[in-house]
Amino acid sequence: MAVLRPAGDFDRSYQQDMSILRKPWHLLVTVLAIGVLYLTPFLNSAYITFTLNRIAYTVIALQGLNFLTGFTGQISLGQAGFMLVGGYASALVSTYWGLPIWLAIPFAALATGGVGLLFGLPSLRVKGFYLAMATLAAQFIIPWLTRQPFLADYLGGTKGFIDVPTATIFGVSLGEQSQFVYLSVTVMLIMTVLANNISRTRLGRAFVAIRDNDLAAELLGVNLFSYKLRAFFIAAVFAGVAGALRAHSQRAVGTELGYNLVESVLFLGMLVIGGLGTNLGPYLGGIFVILVSDFALWFGPRLAEIFPSNAAALQSSFRPIFFGMVLVLFLIFEPRGMAHRWTLIKAAWRLRPFAR
């Protein structure tokens, strides 16, 4: 989308043109931003570290869903279900095999990727709405399985959760939210690099080709089934990593803690708000929705104090109504997502003072 660049801003090689941090100052800003993330625990704010952890695993789950839905155009209603698989996988190998967290997360990623492949199989035959139904099946079957009595010893059965051991890295415990931030931010950065690489190479182009014109893509040599399966696999791998992070940061995993259809739908909503099929979308959408919903959660009781006669109603309904309204307004005024707005702002800045 970088159609216009100011005069004098040119690349000396194709490699430079392809790279994301094209200039020294790009690198500087990135390093500073990352530095700030790693320093947040010193702010001593429980809310900030807790939120940063939530943002990290949400962004990763969104990045995965973005490949399936945003890039490849296959709507999925199962991302939260896949996260549950990742959470359990990581918890079980930590508990029973004693795997350290840096091995448990990749294991969870691959295990979830395998489950994703399985639920991607219907994409051979069905498209669009019908495929969404198939992913819905994942969203029902996986949580249902975790509550089955015959797996209760391992997955918690009707209790709906199991405890997850504290993660340790190099012997340092990450039991506190403020300690866990280091891990979740690191993993989020790694996944971001992977996601960016996918989107600018052969794999990512094949995904978008399928989304924009599957018949043309096929005649240009893209094996539709194989690449849709890859999209399912990658979406599930990211969900697996996200689930593992979530399980270890919450120190528990199971259907009692969510991972339900509402979450899966919310993920789609976040992605639409942030910008489907963009690399920035998962960040913008995830952060925005989490902060807005936290605000609503905080503001509802405040309002209840001001209007005591309606206190009960405000307590229970303010958050969903406010939140729903923000989403609707967003869809009306920014249907292409925040990432699109960001590119417009960047373009306007480059064209200053000729454009407003």
Binding site: V3, Q15, R205, V208, A209, A216, L219, L220, G221, N223
Partner: protein
């Protein structure tokens, strides 16, 4: 190249849609290195014919042998995603670009079959993936220069004007490095200047790159000018086949075109 002068041999092909015959028992051949035109009134079955040749439609009867690799490969039996690697590329009557991608990425996407990087290479983007992306970018840039679309290199193609989109689509077909290029009305809906540009590109591709071309076109003057041989279809039946001069004097063809008015 191979001693057989035929690159594509269409043999007794019939195609129907739920009882409506779109093509009835049509045979013709395409010789290595020629420009072969397919003409005919609207609804004659030209696009359907091209769709069969590119593996997009499966005819109920007949076969289409592709000989570009020194073998007899029956296009009607090969999965669509393997057609490109035979050396067959095409453009579409209604432009079928990847609208959300830039010009550059549309062309790069067509390098898919020529790239070897795996899923893991793509994720890590070093070594093979990085090398390949640069190499293929160089290849693509040559096509971009040739088609004079450097100024829209990074523009999202969905927003481009019609004439340019047609040109990008031609570029995407070229990026496959085809031996046989199937063009469905590449000049339809263009003004005279754009048509001249397009004709020049097609002739250049034919001469400089030695690509065999099958062309559907309604502009008779242009067809007679640039093609070596012409097939004429009418209501799914072949009514003429020969050099432009043969076709001009073919009674059936004259009748089909005049009878249309």
């Amino acid at each position: 190249m191979s001693s057989d002068p035929t690159i594509l041999s269409v043999e007794n092909v019939s195609l129907s849609f739920g009882g409506n015959a779109a093509i009835s028992n049509v045979s013709f051949d395409v010789r290595q290195g020629e420009i072969r035109a397919i003409i005919g009134p609207n609804g004659a079955g030209k696009t359907s014919m091209l769709n069969c040749c590119s593996g997009f439609y499966r005819p109920q009867k007949g076969r289409i042998l592709y000989k570009g690799n020194g073998l007899d490969q029956d296009v009607t039996k090969i999965p669509p995603h393997n057609i490109a690697s035979l050396g067959i590329a095409r453009t579409f009557q209604n432009i079928a670009l990847y609208t959300g991608l830039s010009t550059l990425d549309n062309l790069m996407a067509a390098r898919h079959i020529h790239m070897k990087q795996t899923m893991l290479d793509s994720m890590l983007f070093w070594g093979r993936a990085l090398r390949e992306e640069v190499e293929h970018r160089e290849f693509i840039e040559e096509i971009i220069d040739f088609l004079e679309i450097a100024h829209i290199r990074k523009a999202v193609v969905g927003a481009l004007p019609y004439g340019l989109r047609k040109r990008v689509e031609l570029g995407r077909a070229l990026a496959l490095e085809p031996k046989l290029l199937l063009l469905d009305e590449p000049m339809a809906g263009m003004n005279v200047e754009e048509k001249e540009d397009m004709a020049r590109f097609i002739l250049d591709i034919h001469e400089r790159r030695g690509v065999t071309i099958v062309l559907i076109e309604h502009d008779m003057g242009l067809v007679m000018d640039i093609s070596d041989r012409v097939v004429v279809l009418d209501f799914g039946v072949k009514i003429g086949d020969g050099t432009p001069d043969d076709i001009k004097s073919n009674e059936k063809v004259i009748h089909a075109y005049l009878g249309q008015e």
